[in-house]
Each structure stands twice: as C-alpha cells, then as structure tokens.
Symmetry: C2
C-alpha cells in the first residue's frame, strides 16, 4: 500500500514538472481545462465557441479512443488536436505539452483543453491551465456538485448546459445546483448555457476573452 | 514506468483474488455490475427495479461521496448499502466483499452493484459478477460505444435509457448505437428503456430474473 502511494506521488511530481513547463509556455494565452461527464456537451459547447472565435481559439481534445471530437471542432473553424489516451481516464501535463508543440499558435489567444469525459480522475491533474471549467447538464440530474465535490472545489466556472431542456426536465433544481456549487466553492461562478440555442454564450465569450 | 506496471499488476492480482471469493459467495444469486456515466440514470433505473422486485433485490451503491443513492433505493423497497470510495474512480472486489458481508441475503435472489459513474475505470475491474451491464442515455449523444469500446466489449447488456426524450432529441440515432454495440461486441443485447415511463422494464425484469 505504501509503495502504491509513493508511485502516485512520483506520478504527481512528474506531472507537476510538466505543468510548470506548460504554464511558462502558456504565459501569452488564456488556457482552460474543461472537465465534465461523457455527454455533458463539452464538444458541442466548443463547436459553437469555435464558430465564434475562429482562429483565435485552439482546442486540445482528450479522449480514450477516436479523433471524432477534433474532427468536429475543425469543421467549425478552429484548430484542434486530438490526444488519444489509449485507455487512460484523464489527461496529464506531458500529453498536453506534446499536443501544444504541434499547434500553430501564431494567431491564437485562447486554448481550451477538453479533458476525458469523467468527473473524478481529471480533477486531480494540473495541466498548467489558468483555470478549470466544469460542464454539467440538466439530464444528468441536479446532485452532481454534492456527489463530486473534489472537482467543484477546484473549478473557477461551472457551465450548466442544455438549459433548452428545462421544460421537459422540470424536476431539475437550478437554484439548488447553484447553492451547492457556492457552498463547496464560495468564489465559483455559475453560468446557465445551451450549446443548442446559444443561450448564455455572450457571458461565456466574455469569460473566455477577458484579459489575463 | 516498469515499476508502475508491476504495481498495477499487483493491484489487479489482488482484485482478482477477491473477485474469485465473491464469485463463490455469489453462487446462489444473480449478480450484475452496472456501469455508466454520471447522470445516465443508473439509480433511477434501480429505484423502479426496487419497486418491482422488493426484498428479492439487494443493491450495492458505489459513489465517490455521499450515501444519497442508497437512501433513494431503500425508500423504494429493496435493501441497499453504500460504498463511498473517498475519491476512488471505481469499485474494487474487496470493497464489494465488505459490503456484501453487511447485507442480509436470506430473501435475496438478485444483487446489482451500481459502480461509480464513469465509463473508463470501472470496466477494468472484475467484482465477481455474473455479467456487466452498461447504461447509456439519449442526452449523452450517440457516439458513446465508439468512444469507450473497452467498456462495451465487456458487457452482456446495454440499456439505452431516457428514450422518453426521443422527440426532443430527434438527432440521437438509436440504430447507429445498436450497430456500433454489435460491431464491438457481437453477442451483446441492447434494450431501450425509460426509468421515467417504465418502457422496456418487462424485458429488463425478464433479463434480471432468468435462472442462472
């Protein structure tokens, strides 16, 4: 058991060294680490974001398998590079460094790293980002902040996506989610958005593009 | 790197020893390991299942934090025990053994283990179950089998939940999901259900209760 912990410490130490390198390389960009369940709508949000920000935005896509998501983003007008973790349940800073080295950052101001769909493991790894953004969505149910506090205490912003489904999912208690987020993390910001209708995207753009 | 792999092998070896013990202890019961994203509706399915099967069913609930789900199940009429993994992203066979030891199995015929909400890590750990069941849902999008093949190749049954939302999520391609599942796993069974309306529950009950 002790051995396992030592190994984990070594993994974290190595990760933090790469995260520090990334943070230096990222000094001229705003960089976000986006974390949410599979199907919360992270890629759909980034498609619409790519359609607005175009070549000012670059997206690093993390998935266990396939480059479906990077292909989706590119068709909307931003650069995108896929990291396939090959079974790994989260991105680490070294994977991100390798991906960033392959991006052309000459016109880029904002980089979003879409982590592997998972509310647990990704929250424990610093990728060198400026801020973590959580994405949750109405169909998932309104108890997610309480069930996954380790994520919500580490994020700067929570996007509640798919608010266009509010009428058919009337049991989802938006006020409770907001209260739970603030209880876990009093400085967090919570935004209601819809990648389908564009609701909330003015505020999301304002958040992404504000000066560092 | 080699060291990490050795440690993982030891973890798997220890897990498999406990899984073998569980399998012996489970010989008179039908035992299922249910895996899906956070918010796919695993607990909602089990609530309705508890309402039908009552004390013939016992449910082991895995969550990172809180015993909200076990409380939900008990109110529907079946026994339930919560395992809080305290940050862990999946259940292991030892946790399940400890939980089973606390159940009263005198009237029980079926045990469902609801794993931590996660499509990646839980699929790698044998808990001693008879079969793994994947739960996906319409709002998550229809590319999940292709993105998480390591799970779908290991399951006996895929439940596609929230089909009551079919009208508002007309873009979800049920045929494609079914085809992708069968391409990855030719012997898998796929059922469309709704924990909200009860659609598909006759077939789900038939699956759960058939003789071992």
């Amino acid at each position: 058991m002790t051995v396992t912990i030592d190994i984990n410490e070594n993994i974290q130490k190595k990760n933090n060294e790469y995260a520090a390198l990334n943070r230096q390389a990222f000094s001229s960009y705003r960089v976000f680490n986006m974390i949410g369940s599979p199907g919360a709508g992270k890629t759909a949000i980034l498609e619409r974001t790519a359609g607005i920000l175009g070549d000012e935005l670059a997206i690093i896509e993390g998935d266990v398998k396939t480059d479906l998501d990077a292909q989706r983003i590119i068709s909307f007008g931003s650069q995108s590079i896929q990291i396939e973790t090959g079974g790994g349940c989260h991105l680490n800073a070294e994977m991100v460094k390798d991906a960033v080295d392959r991006l052309d950052l000459s016109r880029v101001r904002i980089i979003v790293i879409e982590n592997v769909g998972n509310l647990v493991c990704p929250s424990a790894y610093d990728l060198g980002e400026d801020a973590k953004v959580a994405v949750i969505s109405l169909p998932e149910g309104d108890e997610k902040p309480r069930k996954y506090p380790a994520l919500f205490m580490r994020v700067d912003l929570v996007l509640i996506n798919k608010v266009d489904l509010r009428d058919v999912l009337a049991e989802y208690d938006l006020d409770r989610v907001r209260e739970d987020c603030l209880k876990i993390n009093p400085s967090v910001r919570v935004l209601e958005i819809s990648a389908k209708t564009g609701k909330g995207f003015d505020e999301w753009m304002e958040y992404l593009t504000k000066e560092k």
